[in-house]
Symmetry: C2
Subunit: 312 residues, 2 copies
């Protein structure tokens, strides 16, 4: 570890304060946490790379850092969890200098403050390569248990939060607010059977729930909530295709019983909309019903996480 890295660590320590559940924070061989007793612990981990998950100067350094934490908050939210402590590893491009490194961490720290997350550790490195940020985020379930992907049941109603499509061209992926408040509200209002966040596109991510739960689904095409960008798109893909396949929406996709679904629609108190987009069925696979009554199979092909032209 070189002098500039010690300086960066010193600066990061000056920006954050240790608090529950941290007993030993930044600056020892490992962090030491005291998790709440008798609670499961959630651990999310995501690595973001320059040129794949963000590019400069399209993103600011702060936005790159913010996104690296935000995608993990979205993962903890999708488990119906409350985030607690974040650990931030970076590979910093040497040519960008110390101010750049601070700006990346400022983006992380500001979002952490917003969600009452303590930065409890990390690892700072520099190299001649592009920026890489890997964040590990711990948390615990809001309710008695976390919500996984494997509990969807035939007859369940499928919902999504917000609107889908165009996250990359609208730069939503750099500025989105993880649906933590919505996930916590859902966990308290209803019995969630399955939940995840939509990062690879609705069609691809729904397939994960269907596979894990060993069920199928029928989506209703004209009920899928689309962003204004998707509705106005003129790039050759239909608005619906954008809503089904665009990546990085970071909205919640969840399944509840019809009774709970009705109650949700009647009583949902948040400003973020929730929309019923279909239902779980017994027969494997995903199908979609169009306004003219046609029902067609839906391929789980979604977005591949790459901003470069080549794709992955």
């Amino acid at each position: 570890m070189s002098r500039p890295e010690f300086d960066l660590i010193h600066w990061i320590r000056s920006q954050v304060r240790d608090r529950e559940p941290v007993r030993v924070g930044i600056g020892d061989d490992a962090a030491c946490l005291r998790p709440p007793a008798d609670r499961d612990q959630l651990v999310a981990i995501d690595m973001l790379m320059e040129g794949v998950h963000f590019t400069f100067p399209d993103a600011t350094p702060e936005q790159a850092g913010r996104k690296a934490l935000a995608v993990n908050v979205s993962d903890i939210a999708a488990m119906a969890g409350e985030p607690t402590a974040a650990f931030v590893s970076v590979a910093l491009p040497k040519h960008r200098g110390a101010q750049f490194a601070r700006r990346v961490h400022t983006g992380v720290i500001e979002l952490a403050e917003e969600f009452n997350i303590v930065i409890a550790g990390g690892d700072t490195n520099s190299w001649n390569g592009p920026l890489v940020i890997s964040v590990t985020l711990t948390g615990h379930p809001v309710g008695p248990r976390s919500i996984c992907r494997d509990g969807a049941k035939p007859g369940d109603w499928l919902f999504v939060t917000g609107k889908l499509g165009g996250s990359l061209p609208t730069r939503h992926h750099l500025t989105f607010t993880p649906r933590l408040a919505e996930a916590k509200k859902l966990a308290r209002m209803v019995e969630l059977h399955a939940m995840m966040d939509i990062s690879d596109g609705l069609a691809a991510d729904l397939d994960h729930i269907l596979t894990a739960s060993r069920v199928g689904a029928l989506l209703v095409a004209d009920q899928i909530p689309l962003t204004e960008w998707a509705l106005a798109s003129t790039d050759g893909s239909s608005p619906l295709q954008h809503g089904l396949s665009d990546g990085e929406d970071f909205e919640l996709l969840f399944a509840v019983s019809p009774e709970e679904g009705e109650r949700l629609l009647a009583q949902w108190p948040e400003t973020t909309p929730i929309t019923r987009v279909g239902e779980i069925v017994e027969a494997a696979g995903c199908r979609i019903r169009y306004p003219d009554g046609r029902i067609e199979p839906l391929s789980p092909i979604g977005w591949t996480h790459s901003l470069d032209a080549e794709g992955q």
Copy 2:
């Protein structure tokens, strides 16, 4: 996420089995652990980059993966902890292909098996850049509390495990066994005042303990245990300089009371040697006593983590 990445995740899942403390492992938005009740939890995180912490073909892909976990095991050991669950994020160079990715993970998985660590999650990405591996490792203290860097007291004896110097040229850094057994034995035998692992060189890392504990130290030059490579070195640096400054030894450095130190020397049961290298003093700073009686200040300058010629 693309098809090859799903294939890799599927393969990783087939190689590991969920076990305590994992309730939900690889394949959901986040992992869910049930940590032991009323125990602190340790979290270590380290990011390793191709060209900085390993190079190809000098290292095999398995060695790169193994090292990424080993450095974290060393960190948990240095807290007097027992590792439990690992989370592995990778940025895989596209041109190296799927077999390379499996070999990297094989290195991680084999060391995990050796130390009874469960791989509980991760994030796989590919790009056109070099290999990056970030591992997060959880654990818990072996004894009632973890051992930090801030508890060294004037009069304490300073010890190191093993021998120091030449980890990079001898490729020890790619094959070392983290001193977990030794750390656990120490934690059970004596009251450790401070402990850390030596990754930046004895002089640099001792400085961390001295700063955190607000004390100084006097090292005894001819008691510092040197590797055969350091003793035989003919590269212009003295054997002692190698022992004080070479990086990536991954040995333990710890402080205990003189009474405990004497008992350790008399009763130490492990084959890995432990050596008394000096003592803690009240006056700040580190000094070193040479065989001729001279006492000189020792600068905390150690190795910078870079295998490239430029350094950091």
